[in-house]
């Protein structure tokens, strides 16, 4: 446990000691903030239209959260899909490339401790990222009454989806000695999982169902609408565990394969 936390802390710290994390956060926030702003302006426009038409015959209203926070978080996830491979590629592949890996591998640590520690460090980083993105929706409370439940669900969803990205990135990083290759693999896998539902409707009913279930996007969208379901939670936990177990197996296999 102590070793796990020590690795996690170093991993987390090393991200902030290099320009990597800072650059990533800067890019993420600049774009997310721009998108959030655009969404708020868009919302204002819709609201004005809505009021000028006199409420469209009285039915329904335009939800503030639905129109501002949800699109911002949706876009943030896509941004993270692009940025996470760059963050996770270093985790193991770079240690191997820079020959620091033997220091860890020759220490009295089980493979799961090393993998788990690195993943925990990454989760800490994601926690900071998601918490900081959460500041933007907070500003809405000055102007209206956003749906707190939906915001929290959305942020939780973003954390889970990025955590799953991270686990897949970690798995890819364990599979190669080249960080760039790890980034390509991660990006390919994540994008496939993101868009796989596109085929869902057109494919046969059984295959379509499976494709829809496998899709990251579908599960994430549930969170954005404020729904936290155990099926979605299970999906993300399963995906993350898969990544970690894969990375562990790779480590074990590497000792044997050389």
């Amino acid at each position: 446990m102590r070793a796990l936390c020590t690795i996690a802390y170093r991993e987390w710290r090393s991200m902030f000691l290099s320009p990597l994390a800072w650059t990533l956060l800067a890019v993420l926030f600049a774009i997310a903030a721009y998108m959030f702003n655009a969404a708020v302006i868009n919302y204002q426009l819709r609201l004005m239209q809505f009021q000028s038409y006199g409420g469209m015959g009285g039915g329904g209203e335009i939800s503030l959260t639905e129109w501002t926070v949800a699109p911002m978080l949706g876009n943030a996830a896509v941004l993270m899909l692009l940025l996470m491979p760059l963050l996770t590629m270093r985790l193991i592949a770079e240690e191997k490339r820079q020959d620091t890996w033997p220091a860890l591998a020759s220490s009295p640590l089980s493979p799961m401790t090393i993998i788990g520690g690195k993943y925990l460090g990454l989760l800490l980083f994601l926690l900071v990222t998601v918490a900081m993105l959460g500041i933007m929706p907070l500003t809405l409370y000055f102007f209206g009454s956003p749906d707190t439940g939906q915001i929290v669900a959305g942020l939780l969803g973003l954390f889970l989806v990025t955590a799953a990205f991270g686990a897949i990135g970690l798995a890819a990083s364990s599979a190669t000695d080249s960080p760039i290759v790890a980034a390509f693999i991660t990006f390919g896998v994540l994008l496939s999982l993101w868009i796989v539902a596109w085929m869902g409707d057109s494919a046969g009913s059984e295959v379509g169902k499976i494709l829809t279930w496998v899709s990251l996007l579908n599960h994430y969208e549930n969170f954005l609408t404020g729904v936290i379901s155990s099926a979605d939670l299970a999906y993300f936990l399963l995906l993350s565990s898969f990544g970690l177990v894969f990375a562990r197996q790779r480590m074990v296999a590497e000792r044997i394969r050389g």
């Binding site: 020959d99 860890l104 050389g258």
Partner: protein, 321 residues
Amino acid sequence: MTEIMIEVSDLSRNFGSICALDRINLQVKRGEVMGFLGPNGAGKTTAMRILAGLLAPTSGSVQVAGLDVLEQGVAARAKIGLLPETPPLYGEMTVREYLSYLAALRRVPRTQVRTAVERAMSRCGLESVSERLLRNLSKGYRQRAGIAQAIVHSPEVVILDEPTVGLDPIQIREIRGLIRELGGEHSVLLSTHILPEVRMTCNRVALISQGRIVADDTLEGLEKRAQSAGLLFIRLNNSPEVSTLAALPGVAHIESGEGGGWWITPHPQIDPTPAILRNAVEKGWDLRELSPASHSLEDIFVQLTTQEADPEAHAAGEMKP
């Protein structure tokens, strides 16, 4: 003092169809500095990676401090400190941070981390650079930091893979001094292809060539063996017929050498020296010179590592202490 710290039995390792190690046997006792000597590509690094638990053997077993590195890997690795060929340094950390980090990972109790780090730094002469980033250190200091991380958790066994490569002569001398010092407390397995290094640091030498141990002996033993098998050079003022000399007991072969001298190849079991001396005195050959052709460690090295083609010679090269 005779406790065996590293016990390698019938260790083999294949990479696909390539056999990197072929049934290696090796023992290192407590407090001993064992030189692991061999040409590049002989299998030194593979053997060391297996010993340190980075690589699993194809067959055979390795025990470190009584623990099997395969079966009880985690516990065994706590007893091992490894310096790989390239020191595993995190450039963005300071020397102190780095050593503290690895001490924590290697089960140094929380309260003793500080002392352990201080001790490792002072042993490796790193105090003056303790707050500097590893990436800014010179090659010599990086190497020392690499050794410091291998000993920070006071392991029973220290494995050093070519620790002096790329250092300047002064640094080499310092590192060698450090290795000798380590020997008292830890068991050290030191891989190198630099022969004088072995002479200066090691109690015992294992010679490895093409994945096999071709010699395992003390340095003196090795030199003695090479000498006893070596040629004798004699020079006589009143030299008799060649046939007379060739007929002396212990002379297997004779040919003429420079300055009217003779090169004598001795019989493997009989030393010709007494017979030569006795006859020289009795028959007035007037002996001017009698010297064993001195074999340097280098000769032994070349001799033992280049005789693989001949299976008989290989068998003869196989020695047990």
